[in-house]
């Protein structure tokens, strides 16, 4: 432990950086193989096989897809707003990844005598013996989720194509209506845990029942709204091929397109991780296996559910989607808050 920076040994910082790297690589790999898993699962649900020919049972498919996209021609429409056009995929992609900073994915581990919590934006306070994390973690995630939509709207607008613009606008409208319902759905969780810190929310669920059981309605509404918010089937209207060619990403090609693709899957991983943390007890599980295992298992189960839903339901019509968001989900979440409030105060 030679060097010390701000009274903390070097190993502590190395552990911090490693934490970021491990999570980043893990999310990246999950994103890559989620595309594969999606094709396989939906394939089997349609009594097909899915990819089979790249590697054993198509296992090298995500890598082959990546290589293929990398070598495709980059096309920027001549009338496009170049700067916005180039930056939009990044704006869509980055929030999806940095949301992971506040998600606790395991118990505290010890490195060089220091306790390190398995959550990127958190530290172990030796004085109080508690893990301190961002005390508004959930708000941070909700804020990031709404930044992601800027990427989509900008992509639609900067492409200078009517279809793209319509796709982008749809996305923003959808985002507003569903983000509201999603935000209201988790308010009932805050009411029970009396905190916005994800550590506290997870700890509460370890002591009592999971919030999915205490708040089943909020859980289901939040999950559905999240799927709508990340534009996945059956709510993938911004890229409805039948009406809008490919929506906001019509004019995108090569790696820029791949970034939108990655953003969609990264968002799915983030949303499933958030749902796990808020409603499914986070990383807690029977102690014969480490916490991160339970966390990953729950997240993967939710990802599977997303794919399962995609294989089952047809796409919603746009007006149906808006009606569902504003006239069904929003009132239901409000009712849920009132009922929770009454129960909590009793």
């Amino acid at each position: 432990m030679g060097y010390e920076i701000l009274g903390l040994p070097m190993a502590y910082y190395i552990a911090m950086v490693l934490k970021v790297l491990v999570v980043f690589v893990f999310v990246l790999l999950t994103v890559a193989y989620a595309t594969y898993a999606e094709r396989k699962i939906i394939g089997h649900m349609q009594v097909r096989l899915g990819p089979m020919r790249t590697g054993w049972h198509g296992l090298l498919q995500p890598i082959a897809d990546g290589v293929k996209l990398f070598f495709k021609e980059e096309i920027i429409p001549s009338k496009a707003d170049k700067f916005a056009f180039l930056i939009a995929p990044l704006i869509a992609l980055v929030p999806a990844f940095i949301g992971f900073a506040v998600i606790p994915f395991g118990e505290t581990i010890e490195v060089g005598g220091y306790k390190i919590p398995l959550q990127i934006a958190a530290y172990y306070d030796t004085a109080s013996g508690q893990v301190v994390d961002l005390n508004v973690g959930v708000l941070y995630i909700l804020a990031l989720a709404s930044i992601g939509v800027y990427g989509i709207v900008l992509a639609g607008w900067s492409s200078n194509s009517k279809y793209s613009l319509l796709g982008g606008l749809r996305s923003s409208a959808q985002m507003i209506s569903y983000e509201l319902a999603a935000g209201l759905a988790i308010i009932s969780v805050f009411m029970l845990s009396e905190s916005l810190s994800l550590q506290k929310i997870v700890a509460d669920q370890a002591n009592g029942a999971w919030y999915a059981f205490k708040q089943p309605l909020a859980f289901i509404l939040f999950f559905i709204c999240s799927i709508a918010e990340i534009n996945r089937t059956p709510f993938d209207l911004p890229e409805a091929e039948t009406e809008l060619v490919s929506g906001f990403c019509t004019e995108y090609s090569s790696m820029k397109y791949a970034m939108f693709f990655m953003a969609e899957y990264a968002n799915m991983v983030t949303v499933c991780a958030v749902t796990t943390t808020l409603f499914l007890g986070g990383w807690h599980g029977p102690s014969f296996l480490p916490g991160w295992f339970w966390f990953i298992a729950k997240v993967y189960f939710l990802i599977f559910t997303c794919m399962w839903i995609r294989a089952t339901y047809p796409r919603y019509r746009y007006d149906q989607l808006m009606r569902l968001g504003w006239k069904v989900f929003l009132p239901l979440t409000l009712i849920n808050i009132v009922v929770t409030g009454i129960i909590v105060s009793l």
Binding site: I41, G43, H44, M45, Q46, V47, R48, L49, M52, W308, I309, A311, T312, Y313
Partner: protein
Amino acid sequence: MIMPLINGLKITLKHMFMKPVTLQYPDERPTPSPNFRGLHALKVSHSKAKCVCCYLCPTVCPAKCITVEAGEDQEHNKYAERYEIDMLRCIFCGYCVEACPVDALKMTGEFELANYKREDFVFVKERLLEK
């Protein structure tokens, strides 16, 4: 409203554990049904094409893709000196087979007709003769 949604999920989950019906194409090959309409073949009798060059098939062909030119052999019989089908235009309707008065034409199960050059899609008499 909720039950049908759950039933839908049940059905897809059940399908996931069914044996896929996919055919691993280049490794496993399908056997086309006997009345499948694939590539044409000119039937042969007495080591010659049966076609008597009556021009009925080019007449009936809706895609106008058959070219027949008559020739005369030593016994002064009419025969198809040139017989070509442009497979890029053929719609595999089978009218030519129906129209033939001497049953000289048939359609085979051959469906792998991909090629690299447009010229290779024109099937001349030699390529069409029944093997």
